[in-house]
Amino acid sequence: MLNVENVRKTFGAVTVLDGVNLTVKPGEVVSVLGSSGSGKSTLIRCINGLERLDGGRITVDGFDVSRPKELAEARKRSGTVFQLFNLYPHMTALRNITLAPIEVLKRPKAEAEAEGRALLASVGLEDRADAYPAQLSGGQRQRVGICRALAMKPSYLLLDEVTSALDPEMTAEVLNILAKLAGNGTTMVFVTHEIEFARQISDRIVFLEKGVLLVDLPTRDFFAQDGGLAQPRVAQFLSKMRKD
């Protein structure tokens, strides 16, 4: 279980997360919606330990990310996919994927490589294993980014606007893969502006507004008139997103 309890995060005088509570159970896909600056990325960065909490607690399968001794265990259980891919530019696609399994999980190189190749094949990149990131298209890079996260066999996949740097065609490539993962029972926390896609794959949708988690509802209820849409801010946000 991924547990976010009453989390507060401030940058100087600005409160970016204000008492956020969120629970993600194994197998669930939870999408995080909210307008720009509402704190979505910060929430992800608190879960993977890139930001220090100013209050509250986050545990990943029981491991507290705020405790230095438990952070490593917590991190082994979550995998992050970034908006701008953040691949290691000097390593091939395969090496990007196998580095952490070999160095962190101490997997034998041959095994890690076989698994890496299988992952690449599962995203349609079996013939690009030896390509460097700069030789790949944006969509291909992000597919490698997903493989890199999956190679650690995380219990929770954290995705922060992973398609917003991509054009529509590449976005479709990546979303197809995410849909497949969701279908396989991969647990995901999915920050996105792709409302329709979130609606298709999510079990639950949460809505952040100025650092406050305003709504946390099963997907169907979120889009119901007497559910999420009853919140003026949500209705406003959705109608604005649909127009864009």
Binding site: N48, G49, L50, A72, R75, K76, S78, G79, T80, F82, L84, N86, L87, Y88, P89, H90, L99, A100, E103, V104, A131, Y132, P133, A134, Q135, L136, S137, G138, R148, A149, M152
Partner: protein
């Protein structure tokens, strides 16, 4: 007086041995200054403490003192306190220390230029600081700093001519001897000009090739 290069023919072997010495000193000093530069760059980008201060002091000191003064200090100064080092070793050490100050700048710039997102990706995947540094930070920094390190090497080749002042008969030292033996300084130093220019030109071509090789993935980008 007639310009006649043929007078130098009997001395070519002598000059070539000087050139070999220049190459040897610079080759060793290149290794020395890159290793030193790497260590100093690490210290300068570290989060603080005495190592960082010492690294800054080193860079400031050796960049702000003329090379010939550093060299004389090592070769003529240190024996006064009982430290004797032969001319060749002194040359290599002095060039390494002076070059290291500049190399650390190049490598430090390469380290600081690394996209923070890449480091965050390494961090969340659980890679240790050490592995992140050796497998990610250093290789990326080195490949971006190949060109500035090449300038350090070229500078080192030029500076190595000063080693003739501590009796090390590298290229310039040998040329001085030939000039005084033949009384033909015009021809001798003309050849010296050409040889240094050719040497540094070849080095810069080598650096460009190395840079291309290390950054080969960036050639022919898809996007």
């Amino acid at each position: 007086m007639r310009f006649d290069l043929s007078v130098l023919v009997p001395h070519l072997g002598f000059l070539a041995s000087g050139a070999m010495l220049t190459a040897a000193v610079c080759g060793l000093a290149l290794v020395g200054s890159v290793v030193l530069g790497m260590a100093v760059a690490i210290a300068r980008t570290s989060s603080g403490g005495w190592a960082r201060r010492a690294a800054y002091a080193y860079v400031d000191l050796f960049r702000n003192v003329p090379f010939i003064v550093q060299l004389f200090f090592f070769y003529y100064g240190l024996p006064e306190i009982g430290i004797y080092i032969d001319a060749f070793t002194t040359g290599v050490i002095a060039l390494s220390i002076a070059g290291g100050a500049y190399a650390s700048d190049a490598i430090r710039a390469g380290i600081l230029a690394i996209d923070n997102g890449i480091l965050e990706a390494a961090e969340v995947s659980g890679l240790s600081k050490r592995v992140t540094f050796t497998r990610i930070v250093l290789p990326i920094a080195l490949r971006t700093s190949v060109r500035p390190l090449g300038s350090v090497l070229i500078n080192m080749i030029l500076t190595s001519s000063i080693l003739s002042t501590i009796t090390l008969n590298e290229l310039t030292g040998q040329a001085k001897i030939v000039a005084s033996d033949t009384f033909r300084p015009f021809e001798v130093y003309f050849v010296l000009l050409v040889v240094y220019a050719a040497l540094t030109y070849l080095v810069s071509i080598g650096i460009a090739l190395l840079h291309r090789r290390l950054n080969r993935d960036l050639m022919g980008q898809v996007s």
